[in-house]
Amino acid sequence: MSDAAAAHPRLLVWRRFRRHQLAWGSAIFLAILLALSLAAPLIADLRGIDPLKTELLNRFQPPSAAHWLGTDDLGRDLFQRLLDGGRVSMLVGIAGAVLSAILGALIGVLAGYLGGRFDAFLMRFTDGVIALPLLPLLIVLAALDPAKLGIPQSIAESETFSLYRIVAIIALTGWTTAARLVRAETLSLKQRDYVRAARALGAGPPRIMFRHILPNAAGSLVVATSMSAGGLILLESTLSFLNLGIQPPAASWGNMLTRAQDLLQDAPMQAVWPGLLIFATVIACNFLGDGLQDALDPRSERQ
C-alpha cells in the first residue's frame, strides 16, 4: 500500500496547502507580524521607549539607533506606534471575522435546514444587505451616542470601548458571506444518508444542525473567515481613518493615517508605513484564504 493512499484526508489537505507557496508564505508573514505586535509592550520595555510619550521638540526625527523608523508628528517612536497599531488592527480584524463567522454560520444553518419562508426571508435579507451602500450606514452606527444606547458612562468612556464598538460594527457587515456559504453547504449535506440515518435514530433538529452538519461545513467556513478577515481589517482602517473607529491616543494603522494628508510634505514616510502594513496584511489574508480554498477543495478552478 502506497503512502499517499493511506494518508489521512487532513494530511492531504495539509500537503496541498504546503505546496501553495504564496499562501504558506502569507501564513508565516502573518504569524511573525502578529507575534511582534503582541509582544509590542515587551519590545517597548526592552528598548526603553514609552510609545505614548509625546515630545514635540523631537518630532519628525529621521530613522536612528534610538528610533528605528524615526518619530511621528508628536515625537513618538514610529516603529513602536506601528506595532501597537498592528495589535489593534489585527485583533479587531480577527475578532470581527470570527464573530461574523459564528453569526453567519448560525443564520446559514438555520436558513438551510429549516427552509421554507424563513429561508426565503433570510436570503432576501442578506441580498438586501449586500446590495446596500453599507459604508454610510456604518458611519452612522459608529457615530451613535453610547449614553442613548443605555451603555453606562464608565464603560463608554473606557479606552477599550471604541475597540468593542468597531468589532461589533464589523461583525454586522461580515456575516453575509458566511451565511450564504453555510446555507449552501447545509442544503446539500441535509440530503446525505448519514444525516437521514441520524434523523431515523431520533436526533432532533438542533443535534443534527450542530453535531452533524456544522462540523462538516467547517472547512468552507474557515476559508470564508480568512477571506473576510482581510476585508474587515480594511474596513476597520477606513473607519479609523475617518476618525470613527479606534480613538487616539490608542494607535491603529487606520487612525495613524488620519493626519497623513497634512503630513505628505513634511514626513511622507509617516504616511507610507501604516498603509503599507495594512496592504501587506490584507493581501496576506487573501492569499491565505485562496490557498486554504485550493487545499480544501482541489476540484475548484481545476479544468
Binding site: D127, P133, P136, V140, A147, S237, G254, V282
Partner: protein, 316 residues
C-alpha cells in the same frame, strides 16, 4: 415587462420606507439634538427656553411619532433644511448626486473597459504565467486601502510631480480639459480599487463558459481562438458578470465615499460623511436615502442589460 417594473417599484418603495425608518431611529440615537446646538450657539438660553423649544419642535414626542411626522412631510415633497448649509436638503444634494454619478460612472466605465479584456485573457490561459500575474494584480487591487491609494497618488502626481490638482473640483466656468484634470486622480483611485474584483468576476465567468459544449463545437468547426472568445464566450460570460456587478454598486458607492473624502470631491458620499459628523440630521437622512435609491436604480439598469445580453431571459 410591465409586471417587472411594477414589482421593482414596490420593492423600491418598501426598501426606502424601511431604510428611512431605520436611519431615522439611528439618528435619534446620535449625540445631541437640534436644541443642544442652539444652546451651544446662544449663551443666554435658559433651561425653560430649551424645554419650550423642544415642545415647539415636538422633540419631546416619542421617536416613532416624530418619524411618522417626518414621513408625512416627506411624502408631500417637504424634506427639510440642512442645518449647516441653511438650504433645502434637495437643493444641497442634487448637484452632489450628479458629481458622484460623474465620478462613479467614469470610474465604472474605465474599470470595466480594463477588467473585461483582462479577465478574458486570464481565463483563456488558465494556470499560465499570464493568469498568475493577472491574479496577483487583482489581489493587490482589492487589498489596497482606498484612502491610502488616494494619498499615494496625491503624493506622486500632485506633490512631487505637480501635474494634477490634489483635490476639489473645477467650477462650471472652467474649460473641459481643466475639469478633466480635477477628475483624473479621484477616477484613477476608484478605478484601481474596483479593478481587481471586476477582473476576477470576469475570469470566473469565462472559465465556466469555456467548459461548455458549444465552445468545443465552435472550436471544432475551425473558428480561431479570438473568434471563439469574443463572439461565443464573451456574451455568455457577460450574463453572470452583470448580476455580480449589479450587486457591487453598493460597494462602488462606499468606495466613492472614501475617494470623495480624500479628494474633497463635492459628491454625495462626502456630503453624507460631513452631515453625520456635523449632526446635520436632515441632510444625512436624505443623503442616505438618495444613495440607496441610486444603488437600486443601478440594479434595475443591470437587469435591463441582462436581458440585452441574454435574449432567452425575460423580466417578470
Amino acid at each position: 415587462m410591465s409586471r417587472y417594473f411594477a414589482s421593482r417599484a414596490v420593492e423600491i418603495v418598501v426598501v426606502l420606507a424601511l431604510m428611512s425608518l431605520v436611519v431615522y431611529l439611528l439618528i435619534g440615537l446620535m449625540p445631541g439634538d437640534p436644541i443642544d446646538m442652539m444652546i451651544s450657539g446662544d449663551s443666554k438660553m435658559t433651561s425653560e427656553d430649551a424645554a419650550r423649544l423642544r415642545a415647539l419642535y415636538e422633540l419631546d414626542k416619542p421617536l416613532l411619532q416624530r418619524y411618522l411626522a417626518w414621513a408625512w412631510q416627506a411624502l408631500q415633497g417637504n424634506f427639510g433644511y440642512s442645518r449647516s448649509l441653511s438650504q433645502p436638503v434637495l437643493e444641497v444634494l442634487w448637484p452632489r448626486l450628479i458629481n458622484t454619478l460623474i465620478l462613479e460612472g467614469v470610474a465604472f466605465a474605465v474599470a470595466i473597459a480594463i477588467a473585461l479584456p483582462l479577465g478574458m485573457w486570464a481565463a483563456a490561459r488558465p494556470r499560465s504565467n499570464v493568469d498568475y500575474l493577472i491574479n496577483l494584480v487583482c489581489f493587490g487591487g482589492f487589498s489596497l486601502p482606498i484612502f491610502w491609494l488616494g494619498l499615494l497618488l496625491i503624493a506622486l502626481f500632485a506633490v512631487t510631480l505637480g501635474w494634477l490638482p490634489a483635490g476639489g473640483m473645477a467650477d462650471t466656468s472652467a474649460s473641459f480639459g481643466e475639469r478633466l484634470r480635477y477628475l483624473a486622480l479621484p477616477v484613477m483611485t476608484l478605478t484601481i480599487a474596483q479593478l481587481g474584483a471586476y477582473t476576477r468576476f470576469m475570469r470566473g465567468a469565462m472559465i465556466e463558459v469555456l467548459r461548455q459544449d458549444f465552445i468545443r463545437t465552435a472550436q471544432a468547426k475551425g473558428l480561431g481562438e479570438w473568434a471563439v472568445l469574443s463572439r461565443h464566450a464573451f456574451r455568455n460570460a457577460l450574463v453572470p458578470v452583470l448580476t455580480i456587478l449589479a450587486l457591487h454598486f453598493g460597494a462602488l458607492f462606499s468606495g466613492a465615499l472614501i475617494t470623495e473624502t480624500v479628494f474633497a470631491w463635492p459628491g454625495m458620499g462626502n456630503a453624507i460623511y460631513h452631515a453625520i459628523l456635523d449632526n446635520d440630521y436632515n441632510l444625512a437622512l436624505m443623503g442616505l436615502l438618495l444613495a440607496t435609491l441610486a444603488t437600486i436604480v443601478g440594479n434595475v439598469l443591470a437587469d435591463l442589460a441582462y436581458v440585452w445580453a441574454d435574449p432567452r431571459v425575460t423580466l417578470t
